[in-house]
C-alpha cells in the first residue's frame, strides 16, 4: 500500500501539490486531471525522483526514498530514457541493471506487440516506443507500477491488447497507477479514480461512488434557456448544452427532483427525462465541479 500524508511540493511560485493525503491500494487507479494538475509531479514524488517539501510518502511501511521501497516501485515516465542508438537488448541491459527483469516475458511481449527486434529504437514511432516501455515495465518484477501518460500515441487496436495485459497484472495482486488526461483510455480498466485539480485532491473513489454525484436531464423546449436563467430559478446547474431544441442539463444529485419540478413549472417542456452519464463525462464533470468549488 502507498500512503501519502499531507504531501506538499512547490516549484518556485507554483504549488504543484498541496496538502495531499491519499492511499493507493491494490488494483488499478486512474490518476486524472487537467494539464498542470500535478499528476506527473505526484508520480515522480512517489518514485523518489523529486524530494518532498512537506509530508510523508510511505510504501509498505517504509519511506518512499529508501532502497527497499524503490525496489518495489517502478515508474514509467512520459519520456523515458534510452541510450543513443539503443536496440532492444540495450534497453534490457539498462533496466535489468536496476531491477529484476524477466527477459523471456519481455521478448514474448515484443512478439505480441509486433515490434521489430533488430532495429534501433530511435526508428520506432511514438506509439511503438510506448509499447516497448510498457513491455519493459511489466517484465520488471515490481509491486507498484506508476505509469505516466501510459497510453499516449497507442492505436486503439493495440490499446485493447495492452489493457488486457494490465488487467492480467492486476489479477496478480499488483498496484497500478495510470495517469492520463485522456479519460476515455482509462475506461473499463480502472477500479477507482483520483482526480487532481491544481495540485489538490478533488475527488477520490470508485466509479460507482462518483457516478452518484451528478445527474443529467434532457428536455425539449422552444424557448431560449441560458445557464443564468436556470440559476435565477435557485438551481445550481453544472453545465447546459443545447443540441437543436434539446437541452442537456447536468445538476448535482440532490437537486435533481427540485430541478425537474421548476423546469416543468416555468418552461413546460414537451420532453423531460433523466439520461445516463458515461464515465468519461462523469470524470470531466467531477473535474469541473472541483474547479468551481476551488474558485
Amino acid at each position: 500500500m502507498i500512503e501519502l500524508l499531507n504531501v506538499c511540493k512547490h516549484f518556485e511560485k507554483v504549488d504543484a501539490i498541496q496538502h495531499l493525503s491519499l492511499t493507493f491500494e491494490k488494483g488499478i487507479t486512474g490518476l486524472v486531471g487537467h494539464n498542470g494538475a500535478g499528476k506527473s509531479t505526484l508520480l515522480r514524488l512517489i518514485a523518489g525522483v523529486c524530494h518532498l517539501d512537506e509530508g510523508n510518502i510511505v510504501v509498505d511501511g517504509k519511506e518512499n526514498d529508501s532502497k527497499e521501497s524503490k525496489q518495489k516501485v517502478f515508474f514509467l515516465p512520459d519520456d523515458p530514457y534510452l541510450p543513443m542508438f539503443a536496440k532492444l537488448e540495450d534497453a534490457v541491459q539498462l533496466y535489468s541493471s536496476f531491477y529484476p527483469l524477466d527477459q523471456e516475458k519481455f521478448y514474448s511481449y515484443i512478439k505480441d506487440f509486433h515490434l521489430p527486434e533488430r532495429e534501433k529504437i530511435s526508428t520506432y514511432s511514438k506509439g511503438m516506443k510506448r509499447q516497448l516501455f510498457l513491455a519493459l515495465s511489466f517484465s520488471i518484477d515490481a509491486s507498484y507500477y506508476l505509469l505516466d501518460e501510459a497510453f499516449d500515441g497507442i492505436d486503439p487496436f493495440m490499446l485493447e491488447k495492452i489493457k488486457e495485459e494490465i488487467l492480467k497484472e492486476r489479477e496478480k495482486g499488483k498496484t497500478i497507477i495510470i495517469s492520463s488526461h485522456n479519460i476515455s483510455s482509462l475506461e473499463k480498466i480502472v477500479d477507482r479514480f483520483v482526480i487532481l485539480v491544481n495540485g489538490k485532491l478533488a475527488r477520490n473513489g470508485e466509479m460507482e461512488t462518483l457516478s452518484k454525484d451528478f445527474r443529467k436531464v434532457q428536455f425539449m423546449c422552444k424557448r431560449e434557456i441560458s445557464l443564468e436563467a436556470l440559476c435565477a430559478l435557485s438551481l445550481h446547474p453544472l453545465s447546459l448544452k443545447k443540441i437543436g431544441s434539446l437541452y442537456h442539463l447536468v445538476i448535482s444529485s440532490n437537486e435533481l427532483e427540485e430541478a425537474k419540478k421548476r423546469i416543468h413549472a416555468v418552461y413546460s417542456p414537451s420532453l423531460l427525462e433523466e439520461v445516463s452519464i458515461d464515465s468519461e463525462e462523469m470524470i470531466r464533470l467531477e473535474m469541473l465541479a472541483a474547479r468551481e468549488e476551488q474558485r
Partner: protein, 356 residues
C-alpha cells in the same frame, strides 16, 4: 549495484577509449620522438601528459553527473533502487578509477619507452627515474583533487551547458583571485606587491598553477628528472606562490570531497532546466567579471582611452553572458542588482586608475 557498475563501464567504454588515445598521443608519441639524454634539448615529456591529464580530470565529472542534465535521464536513473547518494558516488568513482587506470598504463609505457631509448643509446647518461615515480604520485593526487573540485562545481548545474559555463566561471575566479587585486594595487600605488603581481605572459604561465598545481609541478619534476636542483625550477617568488596555491588547493579539494560524498542529492525536478538553481550561484558570473575587469584594468592602466572603451565593452559582454546563462535578455531582479553593483565597482576602479 554490481550489475549497474558493469553496465556503466560498458556505456563509457568509447569515452575511455578516446581518453586512452589522447593520453597516448600526449605521452607515448613525444616519448618516442623527442630527444632524451644529456643534452640541452633533452625532454621528459611530463608537461604534455600533465596538461592532458589535468584537462581530462576536469571534464570527466560532466559525464559522471550527466544523469542529472536531462529530465528523461533523471527520471530513469534517480528512481533506481540504490541507497541515497550511491548513484552519484558510484558514477564518480567509476570515472575517476577509469581515468587513473588509463593514465597509469600510459605513464608506465611512456617511461619504459624513454628508459629503453636511453638504454640503447651510445651515451651512459640516465634520467633520475625516481622523480618520474614521484611525479606520478603527485599527478594522481592532484588529479584526484581536481576531479572532485570539478565534480562539486558541475553538481550545481542542471544541464551540460550550464555545467561547462560554471566550470569556466569558477576556474576564471580561481585563476584571478590573487593576481587581479594585487596587480591592481600595484597599478594604482605604483608599488611592487610581491609574489602575486603577475601580468601578461607571466600571468598566463603562473596563474593556472593556482588551480592546477599538477600542471605547474610538471616543470618542477622535469627539472629534477634532468638532474637539476629544485631551485632551478622556481624563480623568485614562485616558491611562495606555489606553496600558497598548494595549501588553498588541498583545502578546496578536501571540501569538495566531503561535499560530493556527504551532501544530499538535489531533487530531480531541476534536472535539465536552465539557469542557476540558487541565488549564490548566480553571483559567480558577476564575481568572475569583476575580477577579470580589475585584472585587465591593471595591465592596461597606462592607456586610459583603451581602459574606458574596455569598460563599456565588458559591461555589454557581461550582460550578454548573463542573458545566455538565464537563456533570456530579461534578467531576474537579483541579477540586475548584482549587475548594477558590479558595473559601479568596475566604474570606480577604472576611474581611479585613469585619474592616476
Amino acid at each position: 549495484m554490481k550489475q549497474y557498475i558493469k553496465w556503466q563501464i560498458r556505456e563509457w567504454l568509447p569515452v575511455f577509449f578516446v581518453t586512452f588515445l589522447l593520453f597516448g598521443i600526449a605521452f607515448l608519441v613525444p616519448s618516442s620522438i623527442n630527444e632524451v639524454g644529456n643534452t640541452r634539448n633533452a625532454q621528459t615529456n611530463l608537461e604534455s601528459i600533465g596538461v592532458t591529464f589535468s584537462v581530462a580530470v576536469m571534464i570527466f565529472p560532466l559525464f559522471a553527473l550527466d544523469y542529472r542534465y536531462k529530465k528523461s535521464k533523471a527520471d530513469t536513473f534517480m528512481q533506481a533502487p540504490f541507497k541515497e547518494r550511491q548513484l552519484r558516488t558510484s558514477r564518480l568513482l567509476i570515472g575517476l578509477i577509469g581515468i587513473l587506470i588509463l593514465f597509469t598504463l600510459i605513464y608506465i609505457c611512456g617511461v619504459l619507452i624513454i628508459y629503453f631509448r636511453q638504454l640503447n643509446a651510445s651515451s651512459s647518461y640516465f634520467y633520475h627515474y625516481e622523480y618520474y615515480v614521484a611525479a606520478y604520485f603527485f599527478l594522481i593526487l592532484f588529479g584526484g583533487i581536481e576531479y572532485f573540485i570539478s565534480a562539486s562545481i558541475a553538481s550545481f548545474s542542471d544541464n551540460v551547458i550550464d555545467a561547462i559555463f560554471l566550470l569556466l566561471v569558477v576556474n576564471t575566479i580561481r585563476t584571478l583571485l590573487f593576481s587581479s587585486f594585487t596587480s591592481y594595487y600595484s597599478a594604482i600605488l605604483d608599488v611592487y606587491c610581491g609574489m602575486y603581481t603577475y601580468t601578461g605572459i607571466e600571468f598566463f604561465t603562473l596563474a593556472p598553477s593556482f588551480y592546477a598545481p599538477g600542471v605547474y609541478s610538471d616543470f618542477c619534476f622535469s627539472s629534477l628528472i634532468l638532474g637539476n636542483e629544485i631551485g632551478d625550477a622556481f624563480f623568485g617568488n614562485e616558491h611562495a606562490l606555489f606553496y600558497t596555491s598548494l595549501c588553498i588547493y588541498l583545502v578546496m579539494g578536501l571540501a569538495s570531497f566531503f561535499y560530493i560524498f556527504m551532501s544530499k542529492e538535489p531533487s530531480g525536478e531541476h534536472a535539465g532546466s536552465n539557469g542557476p538553481r540558487n541565488a549564490a550561484i548566480s553571483l559567480l558570473p558577476h564575481l568572475s567579471y569583476i575580477l577579470f575587469s580589475i585584472w585587465f584594468i591593471a595591465i592596461t592602466y597606462s592607456l586610459p582611452v583603451i581602459l574606458w572603451a574596455c569598460y563599456f565593452v565588458f559591461a555589454i559582454l557581461e550582460y550578454c553572458i548573463l542573458a545566455f546563462y538565464h537563456r533570456s535578455f530579461k534578467l531576474p531582479k537579483l541579477s540586475f542588482l548584482y549587475l548594477g553593483v558590479s558595473y559601479l565597482l568596475i566604474f570606480m576602479a577604472t576611474l581611479l586608475v585613469s585619474v592616476k
